[in-house]
């Protein structure tokens, strides 16, 4: 259900992507490091649902719609440290999640869950998407 209505804003998505690249290059202190052990995807799934990530990005990481189209996160491409840095200072309407409410470990677990989700598959294999 929608109370406020705005035009879709894919530009915002691009801005998020751009910020993601920035974080990927720069990184931030305090984030999990690439050499850290991989996150716990099962705990990540629990947190993804409990912490409300699914509200904008979908339980299957398929993306969705807030005041604009929200990006799909299945098979998240960001390295874990960039992902965490992104969460700490998210751009535009994406909420930022401080360590007070989401630890680096928990964020890494969410990252692991997102990487475990199947991403897109060939649309040509689904007849309903070709009509």
């Amino acid at each position: 259900m929608m109370i406020r209505q705005y035009a879709t804003r894919p530009g915002t998505i691009r801005a998020i992507a751009a910020a993601s690249v920035l974080f990927a290059v720069v990184g931030t202190s305090g984030a999990a490091r690439a050499e850290d052990p991989p996150g716990d995807a099962a705990n990540g799934k629990r947190l993804y649902l409990a912490d409300g990530c699914f509200e904008c990005h979908g339980r299957a990481g398929q993306g969705g719609r807030f005041n604009y189209l929200t990006p799909a996160l299945a098979q998240e491409a960001l390295p874990v440290d960039s992902f965490i840095a992104f969460l700490r200072e998210a751009p535009n309407d994406m909420p930022s999640f401080s360590a007070a409410v989401l630890s680096d470990k928990d964020a890494a677990d969410i990252h692991a869950f997102l990487q475990s989700l199947p991403g897109p598959r060939p649309a040509k294999d689904i007849p309903l998407l070709n009509q």
Partner: protein, 661 residues
């Protein structure tokens, strides 16, 4: 004007009307014959409270008659006819018939009982035919959906006070959506004609004041001739762009009492106003700008108000081979047209000329707004871009409600109805296109077409993510629904899912494929407005479908009873994400911002404990219902059954348990 008894005294017996203060409003003249002395006795406070006080009372002594009472005693009793051969309501119905009003949506109420009876017995319940609605908000929203599909308004009537308060939010939606609805409210103007009890709190000096901020015009006629002229005027004003609801307050006496001289009454002829066309020189200037531009972009919102709107816009865009961005306020532009770039708004950053037609919130369309602790924004267009507006929005504004959006600077502002202005604009453009420009346009069009194809492929790819998931993804639902309706003459008349998936995946190629959104964002729109659109589509044999939110549904579930009662075929899918999801997301953002807990934002934003069984609700209202559907593989068969039901002339509801949207 009044024939209601007014012998100079309160009618006796009215205090018997009820200790609960809610007498039967239909008994206003019932006890006219009682004695004046009796009236005086019963009208004392002691007598009025007798039934509830429980204390024995002393019967008050009759007052010694003064000169007026003595004179009244000596006069013959007032005439007390018990039947009449005509009523003002009959004439009102005659007026409706001349206006070709098909439907009168209403929830019955005593303040318009006179008109109600006249519609049935004088008018034969045809033009207008009564559509019984369990809530006034439903009635107005039905009118909103109906008008956008049929191209003309229906009428609704309600109690002018309490009913209008129910109706008001829907009137606001229609106002913001620029849709005509003829709203009427019953009232009893003369204080000395009102019965004690309900008729007093149901009367007002100026009932329309409540909604004056969001109607285009209102009146309270005091004679039948006055009514005829005001009704025709109201219809004309409502349907002249920029369109909007109008409000007429109808005196109960005027509706109920006999017509004194029908021959003296005249119903004025309705002559529709020709929608204003933009000034020709300004359109020529715009044409020159568009032809010279390297990357012109057309933004449209409520452009198409007739079936001719979309073909004209297509002709303009194809002549220029330019990008079109649709804000989806109406069925403006085919969804799969190669020039439709609605899901590539980034092209605005490259535009050198932006033409915005009938766009309400242009600033919002042209700006990236950041909902952060410090709110900020940035333009999506380059500073050198020329911005032109064409539309009627600026011709009629009011101050209080802020639906007009932030002020947008423009370079040329052409006041005129966009659809009416398009033929001249197209002609002016064609006159300026030489072979050199034509070649450049073709090259531009090819690039845009390629980008459009990529957008469609991206949408299909995005739709595959979570294809087999439960709760079901919105993309899967929309793909399954389209599969069932694509070979029918379908019409999608409402969504509460943020628009994206149907318009990304489906082929919207006809004027009736889509009819826009709520306008004011008031919740409770989708179900009743969809039913109103379905009422219009019924006579055209179209298959009407809508995808509504569960929260939206919860405001007006009894709309389903109207669907069943009037046998209005509509396939309604409850997109049941078990939340007020937009608010859920907003609250999550607040919680993250405040950094003191992010796991409890379901409080006050979700619809669970218990879950609602919408299919059972539907059955309770007499509507075919299935669900809850959790498995995406069950969707296709369920949709097939529901479509068959709708094609047989019945409404049907599917409750589909969904992931967000």
């Amino acid at each position: 004007m009044s024939k209601r008894s007014n012998a100079g005294h309160d009618n006796p017996g009215h205090n018997k009307a009820g200790y609960d203060g809610a007498p039967d409003a239909g008994r206003r003249n019932f006890l006219k014959g009682a004695t004046i002395a009796g009236a005086a006795a019963l009208s004392t406070p002691a007598a009025a409270n007798t039934t509830v006080s429980g204390f024995p009372e002393q019967r008050p002594k009759a007052a010694i008659p003064g000169p007026k009472l003595a004179a009244a005693d000596a006069m013959p009793p007032p005439a007390d006819p018990v039947s009449q051969t005509s009523s003002g309501g009959d004439f009102m119905v005659d007026v409706f018939k001349t206006l070709d009003i098909d439907y009168l949506a209403m929830n019955c109420a005593s303040s318009f009982r006179g008109l109600h009876e006249a519609v049935i017995n004088h008018g034969g319940n045809s033009k207008p035919e009564i559509i019984t609605c369990p809530h006034e908000e439903i009635a107005v929203h039905m009118g909103q959906g109906y008008a956008k599909m049929e191209g003309k308004p229906l009428a609704m009537i309600c109690h002018g006070v309490v009913g209008l308060q129910h109706a008001s939010m829907a009137m606001y939606n229609a106002w913001c959506d620029r849709v005509p609805v003829i709203v009427m409210g019953g009232n009893i103007i003369e204080a000395n004609k009102r019965a004690p009890g309900a008729e007093w709190p149901h009367s007002a000096i100026d009932p329309a004041a409540l909604t004056r901020d969001f109607v285009k015009w209102d009146d309270q006629p005091v004679s039948l001739q006055h009514f005829a002229e005001s009704a025709v005027r109201a219809y004309k004003i409502a349907t002249t762009p920029p369109m909007a609801p109008v409000m007429l307050s109808l005196d109960a006496e005027l509706q109920e009492n006999p017509i004194e001289n029908r021959g003296a009454l005249r119903i004025p002829k309705l002559t529709a106003a020709i929608p204003p066309q933009g000034e020709e020189a300004a359109l020529a200037q715009l044409a020159a700008m568009l032809v010279a531009a390297e990357n012109p972009v057309i933004i449209c919102d409520r452009v198409a108000r007739t079936q001719g709107g979309m073909p004209r816009l297509v002709e303009l865009a194809e002549t220029l081979q330019c990008a079109v961005i649709d804000n989806f306020g109406r069925m403006n532009f085919p969804s799969r047209h190669p020039l439709n770039q609605s899901f590539r708004r980034s092209i605005l950053s490259q535009a050198d000329v932006i033409l915005a037609m009938e766009v309400n919130d242009l600033w919002g369309t042209l700006s990236d707004f950041h909902d952060r602790i410090v709110r900020s924004s940035s333009p999506r267009y380059k500073p050198t871009a020329k911005i032109v507006t064409l539309g009627t929005r600026g011709l009629y504004m009011k101050a209080n409600y802020q639906d007009f959006g932030r002020y947008q600077e423009v370079d040329l502002d052409i006041a005129g109805d966009a659809e009416a202005s398009l033929p001249v604009l197209i002609e002016q453009v064609k006159r300026r296109v030489d072979e050199g420009r034509k070649s450049a346009f073709e090259a531009r069009g090819k690039k845009l077409a390629a980008a459009k194809l990529a957008t469609i492929e991206q949408a299909k790819s995005d739709a595959t993510i979570g294809w087999d998931a439960s709760p079901i993804t919105t993309a899967r639902l929309c793909a399954e629904l389209y599969n069932q309706i694509k070979d029918e003459d379908w019409s999608l008349v409402g969504t509460s899912i943020g628009l994206a998936w149907p318009h990304r995946l489906w082929n919207f190629d006809k004027a009736h494929r889509w009819n826009g959104l709520a306008g004011g964002g008031g919740v409770g729109y989708t179900l009743p407005s969809s039913l109103g659109a379905a009422l219009a589509n019924k006579r055209h044999g179209r298959l009407t479908v809508a995808i509504g939110g569960d929260g939206d549904f919860m405001f007006v579930p009894s709309t389903l009873w109207t669907a069943a009662h009037h046998k209005i075929p509509l396939l309604y899918i409850v997109h049941n994400n078990r939340a007020y999801h937009q608010e859920y997301m907003y609250l999550q953002a607040m919680a993250a911002r405040h950094g003191r807990g992010i796991t409890d934002t379901d409080i006050g934003t979700t619809i669970k404990d218990p879950f609602v069984d919408y299919a059972t609700l539907a059955k309770g209202f007499g509507v075919y219902g299935e669900g809850p559907i959790n498995d995406p593989n069950d969707l296709g068969p369920a949709l097939k059954r529901a479509v068959a039901m709708v094609k047989s002339g019945q409404p049907a509801l599917l409750d589909v348990v969904m992931d967000q949207r």
